[in-house]
Symmetry: C2
Subunit: 195 residues, 2 copies
DNA sequence: CGAAAATTTGACATGACTCAACTGGAGTGG
DNA sequence: CCACTCCAGTTGAGTCATGTCAAATTTTCG
């Protein structure tokens, strides 16, 4: 359903019924099975992507081949390798479905053509990128100054809607700790909650 | 001198001589002494700010009153609390001069008025914010998966132009380590360089 | 020069990682 | 339906990385 996307956009900008229809038509739905890749490192990243169902992760690989998860996404979120999309360079990140998922995609050329017709889109993206930047700044500063336990506590309160769909070892990767250590942290927290 | 600013903008977008003059006139110069605040938490953040000389830091305070440095800036960089600027909310960060500095400022109202007259400005900011976002993503992922020593090595190679103007304890804060530990890291690196 | 701030050093404590073993659940094939 | 395997999660021992605190040293600056 594309109504979710339109509602999402209307939280930030006004769209006439006609514009909403145009935007709806421009996005194509794509189904993904669990573990299926939406984008791999080196691929061109031609689309902006909005999640309507499921759960995905954006990650890179370090020198030892370990995943470093940059971001999760669930329905109502955008996922992309913005770098690849904006610069038209090969993607530096992987995007993979954690569970069966559905995304709506719009091609860069289609979107660019729409900017003239629907100026609200321009404004929408500017606000989106600004908000993403602000959130990322806060994440960075927290990650650098908080202990692993504090980061985990923050994660579960902030993202408890995602938490259920995501295996623990991926949360560990997102938080920058080992799965073993995260397990210890969880034990510690649950025992202190009893008192 | 405002030529620096115009040159900086022309690296990304085309500006006619007339436009360049208009932009130049719109920016006001502000001198800062060492340790002087350009912005404090809670202040409104009405300006976009371009550094033409000196060195500044953007930081917040944690619960114990310790600085958590988010960003440094030297000439040719922009510094701001984007959140405060864009949302017109009180600033959440402090901006303070590390050395005597000069910045060029433009007020939000002036800038907004210019967008119609000079569309290139719109494009300039979009690219700027995108680049900042991409760089911040990479910083976040590195900070979370690298050791303190790796982060420091990356810092000095990436920002060796700033390094001289910035006291070590501030670099420690930026890297998320204690000043004592950074001192140990430096000793270790310098001794291994000899061999 | 003298005081204050920044940096270094060292002893010790704690946080986080590594590695290996174990547990328990979710398929899967017989 | 059972036995088997695989994978995520847990546990524990040992180690390394980093933090804390206090003191010594060096640098900066009035």
């Amino acid at each position: 359903m594309k109504t979710k996307l339109i509602e999402h956009m209307r939280q930030l900008v006004a769209l006439s019924g006609e514009d909403a229809q145009t935007v709806s038509d421009a996005f194509k739905e794509k189904q993904l099975q669990k573990k299926e890749f939406l984008l791999k490192k080196g691929d061109p990243s031609h689309h902006m992507r909005f999640i309507t169902a499921g759960c995905l992760k954006v990650f890179s690989l370090d020198n030892d081949g370990n995943e470093r998860i940059l971001q999760f996404g669930i329905d109502g979120w955008w996922v992309n390798d913005l770098y690849g999309y904006l610069t038209e360079q090969p993607s530096v990140y992987f995007i993979q479905a954690i569970t069966d998922s559905t995304v709506l995609q719009i091609h860069r050329d289609t979107l660019n053509a729409l900017y003239d017709e629907i100026p609200a889109l321009d404004r929408f993206w500017r606000i989106k990128i600004q908000n993403a930047y602000i959130a990322l700044q806060e994440r960075t500063i927290n990650m650098m100054s908080e202990s692993a336990e504090e980061r985990y506590s923050r994660f579960i309160t902030q993202y408890r809607t995602m938490e259920q769909s995501i295996p623990q070892y991926m949360i560990a990767s997102y938080l920058g700790v080992t799965p073993e250590h995260l397990s210890v942290i969880r034990k510690k927290i649950s025992s202190s909650e009893l008192s």
